[in-house]
Homo-oligomer: 637 residues x 2
């Protein structure tokens, strides 16, 4: 340690990487961080072709190893999620204000596509509530589902098409990075807000209302509920409370006894069946218990010719497609990831996006609307013991049988049963404890979360999401606009230099200021950094406790600075000039590879001199102390 | 060093700052980085009042010390910049398509205001070309200056008013931080592009055209020039070439012999005077040499009642006000700063903004349009030896005399003389060498610069600016989305651990991976960091050169991580779980104060255990090696 300077342990000025190397490395870190091609390297050509094919179609990886043992698990799981898919499909189709049968169609074709291209073993394909409501509220601005249901439905298909295109492009271009900008706090707040307004929307079903508002915010919904209070039906409300209690009980049961998860998994199906029986025998429609209405037997009709790209309407599906696309993709990937993680497995975000994209493209051609990996269904699938995406195939086959033979039976499903199912699903999405945790640990994260929540419930869903994302980005920019700097001091009995605020025992070195700069240094924080460094120097010079007011060296520890731009380099030049005018020398400590390269390119190294660039703080302080001892102390004169 | 562990040199877990302290410190760093109030502290109340008063009105700081010695310099400088103010005022008013006299008015009232509130000693107040053109192109979208000149002029005053309000608010709220987001590269590109299109616009003057396009992009301008080729006048062109050659010669002279700067400073005035004489005697208007036309004698009329807030037009002045406000403020502050720096003095960005704001507010009430600190005038002022803002006062008094007595004389100023003056001023703003330097040192900065340049010349000025700013922000976000990580190795014969890519001699430690993480860790880079770390681990395990494939410890050096958010903490938890599943332990090295606080609050410290958090890499490696030696080597079994 002591002889580090003598033994040639110095900053490595020798080899500068050329531009192509740097660019390739940057592009790789940006778009191929997970190094997807590592498996193909060092393989013979034929094997490599197979590997690449397997890479593009993940089914080829697991299908050859598939056996009956796996199938037993997948079969059970597939049946369980099919029983959940029926009520959820009908309910969420209702939220999207499209015919309930579309919800069932959406659980038939897309799961097949996902089974071929998806990388998550546990993800169960289906529609989600938030996207359904978001689609309805966006498309309704252009076309009313009551006045022109066909056009409305076609625009919903077009939305799925737009989402599919977006997801595929994002996946192919490996732009998963965009999804990274939806923070956990944003999603928590957005989900909570959406769950709240969706639950409130269910008052329509609970109270048996025929008319309702098209707005989603809390104020409009509550106003509408009281405006139409003459339509309230006690029969509907009573049935609703019974169903709600039953479902909540099963949820509680699952929490207490996790092995009984299947009770809560089949509970929605049970609710629907009992509801159908009651509505059929009690002639529900005449007694205030509205039912879903006719459901046509038969498989998905082709809808590719129904896609509507008329310029008068196209902006609505594009907007809905983008918003729900980002939302559904984020949720789907996050959910796939979290369940994979429980088994210590990996999913590939970019491949997942392509799988979702193809699923929605094919879906939009076959009368399906937006599908992704919903949390509830995936959780049930995981708990039911699914081993491969084959569970999705089993579910799809079940749906096929139902569409072919049983669909008309569900025409008696009471609206209130669906409302109860939706409400219970939504209540699980409001995570009080997580919000409280955010409040305790990070106030800014809490603000981002609350912005999404309040924005969604009081303005609109997309505004809430956007406000929250903007806040997150502002925060990210503030991070870089105001990088933390701190003064380092020597920790007694060691050669370590640490933040004096954090380690009050650390003491400064007379005549020398050592500052650690945060990262990165570039245009948005240059002026700040210059002012902040000058302030450290000024403070130190005016500090009566300092052993000497005569600062002769300012050492900047750049060990934590990952990157610097032109403005940053110029700022260092300026700082040097400013402090030189006060008779203070500047030293640079441990510049990292990117930073040192820029310094060499811009001749900064030549300006400051290689002898002023040090490898470690100890080294720099020792060298400066040596020169301080040699020169006569100005403080004494 | 060796006994660091024994002598209690450990991470300081003791004192956590409370929320108020952290918030106050964060707010201070964000908005009061330059610590403006440090002078008032520790002062008796009376003195403090005086200091605060002096702080708000910077004139009170320098006026009491003012003496005749200073005045001699300021007087000369003031006269010099006044001689520049006349041609520039008329030219730029022409660019803004408002009566030329407004340009002269704008050099009368605003300099007084700046002299009272400004903090830069060398800044000379005046109008600038880029803002003038930007105002014209924005307002013209709503109102044509030919069809309704009064309304157009009133909207230009309203623009100055909006700019003034914006600048004052930004200054009072200390939001100088917003201006930080215009990077040096953006400004270089924007200025270059603006200079190019402004020079091309001068073809109208050089060729003596009567009609022209209202668009600013290169294609439209060149089309218009050839469309009206039957209007071309050789007299005008000849005179233009002579003036241009003369002005370019004086510029070259200044570059060769800096002490002759005054030749180039008075050259525009000389051009105007000679132009007037030629036009007067040759009856220019009849021979294709168009003149400026009547200029009314007298001081600025009051225009406060002319401000137009009619909702039909108001968006145009607001847009122009915002854009030119940000632009003029940035340029003004940057220019004030650079000249102050040459004398090693300071300017206060936020106070400058307030001074500009008040200047434009008062200006908009007294028939002035947007003013700031133009580069050319300020440079002349500095070279002419100005010592205080009194030079502005002298210039304003000169302008007063001219407005009162000499204004009508300038009615004969040929348009072509103004075009030559503008062109020469603009050519100086295109900085080829700086662009080349950017290209050499930082390709991304170069792209940002070219985006601004090409956007301005091929689309519109505001689009060019916006594209470039967005690119800068994307870059800032990429910085944080992909923080650099590197593997550390031990540099031979020292206790230092450095990046193995940068220092190829550094060698890894068997059984241990030490990774240094970039900053900050938060939602936008969590997924990346997790994947990157898992890849380091995977690579190391699959590395045949590694001394042992049996990694038992992953140590994360967080010394450079300035901040972390909730998602970041959760990611660390996940990483720990993932590697624990592979039988690898995780250690944290040197978390900084903010990071450690979050870790303690979120119980991460309890989870990982205080014994897994180390103060230095050496310390951590030693402890891990000790435990490696104690446990039987798995690799052997």
């Amino acid at each position: 340690m002591e002889n580090s300077r003598e033994s040639e342990v110095t900053v490595n000025f020798s080899d500068r990487r050329n531009f192509a190397t740097v660019l390739r490395s940057d592009l790789k870190e940006t778009f191929f961080a997970d190094d997807p091609f590592q498996e193909f390297r060092n393989e013979p050509p034929k094997r490599r072709t197979i590997k690449i094919f397997q890479y593009c179609v993940p089914m080829l990886e697991w299908l050859p190893k598939y056996n009956f043992q796996f199938f037993r698990y997948d079969f059970l799981a597939g049946i369980t999620i099919a029983s959940l898919a029926i009520p959820q499909g009908i309910s969420y189709a209702k939220l999207a204000e499209i015919p309930p049968i579309i919800g069932l169609y959406s659980s038939f074709i897309p799961p097949f596509v996902y089974a071929v291209f998806g990388t998550s073993k546990y993800l169960a394909v289906g529609t989600i509530a938030a996207s359904s409501l978001l689609i309805a509220s966006t498309i309704k601005e252009k076309v009313s589902p009551d006045e022109d249901p066909t056009l409305y439905l076609n625009l919903v298909f077009t939305t799925a098409f737009c989402t599919g295109i977006l997801q595929t492009i994002l996946g192919v271009l490996r732009l998963g990075i965009l999804v990274d900008f939806l923070s956990h706090s944003t999603i928590t707040g957005f989900m909570g807000g959406t769950a709240t307004i969706i639950s409130l929307q269910q008052l329509k079903g609970f109270l048996g209302l025929k008319q309702f508002t098209t707005k989603t915010n809390v104020v409009s919904v509550l106003k509408a509920v009281f405006k139409f209070r003459h339509q309230w039906r006690w029969e509907s409300a009573l049935l609703g409370i019974i169903f709600l209690s039953f479902l909540l009980f099963t949820v509680q049961l699952r929490k207490k006894k996790p092995q009984l998860f299947w009770v809560s998994a089949v509970a929605p199906m049970v609710t629907v069946v009992i509801g159908c029986i009651i509505a059929y025998f009690a002639d529900g429609d005449k007694h205030g218990i509205h039912t879903v209405g006719p459901l046509k037997k038969g498989l998905n009709p082709i809808s590719i010719y129904d896609l509507n790209f008329n310029s008068a309407y196209i902006m609505a599906p594009i907007k809905a497609g983008l918003l729900t696309g980002i939302l559904a993709t984020t949720e789907g990937i996050a959910i796939g990831r979290s369940f994979a993680m429980k088994r210590n497995e990996q999913t590939d975000g970019n491949k997942e996006m392509i799988a979702f994209g193809l699923m929605n493209l094919v879906g939009s051609f076959t009368s399906c609307y937006l599908t992704t990996g919903p949390f509830s269904k995936t959780a049930v699938n995981f708990n039911a013991g699914a081993r491969t995406p084959m569970a999705n195939v089993v579910m799809a086959l079940c749906m096929m049988l139902i569409l072919l033979f049983l669909a008309p039976v569900f025409r008696y499903t009471p609206q209130v049963a669906l409302s109860a199912i939706i409400t219970v699903a939504m209540l699980g999405l409001i995570k009080y404890d997580e919000v409280y945790h955010l409040y305790k640990v990070d106030k800014f994260d809490f603000c981002i979360c609350m912005a999404a929540f309040l924005g969604v419930i009081f303005i609109t869903m997309d505004m809430g999401l956007m406000i929250s994302v903007c806040l997150s980005i502002v925060r990210a920019l503030l991070y870089v606009a105001r990088p933390a700097t701190c003064k380092l001091g020597n920790i007694p009995n060691s050669a370590l230099y640490r933040d004096v605020e954090q380690y009050p025992a650390a003491s400064g070195v007379p005549g020398i200021i050592v500052l650690q700069l945060g990262s990165p240094i570039y245009f948005a924080n240059c002026i700040y950094l210059k002012e902040r460094i000058m302030r450290w120097v000024r403070d130190e010079q005016g500090n009566p406790n300092s052993k000497t007011a005569d600062i002769e060296h300012v050492l900047l520890d750049l060990g934590g600075v990952t990157t610097i731009d032109m403005t940053g380099i110029e700022t260092l030049v300026e700082i040097r000039r400013n402090i030189l005018a006060k008779g203070i020398k500047m030293g640079i400590i441990n510049p990292r590879i990117n930073v040192l390269e820029k310094m060499m390119l811009s001749k900064f190294v030549d300006l400051i001199g290689k002898e002023s660039i040090f490898l470690s703080v100890e080294d720099a302080v020792k060298t400066c102390q040596f020169s301080l001892n040699q020169s006569p102390q100005k403080g004494d004169s």
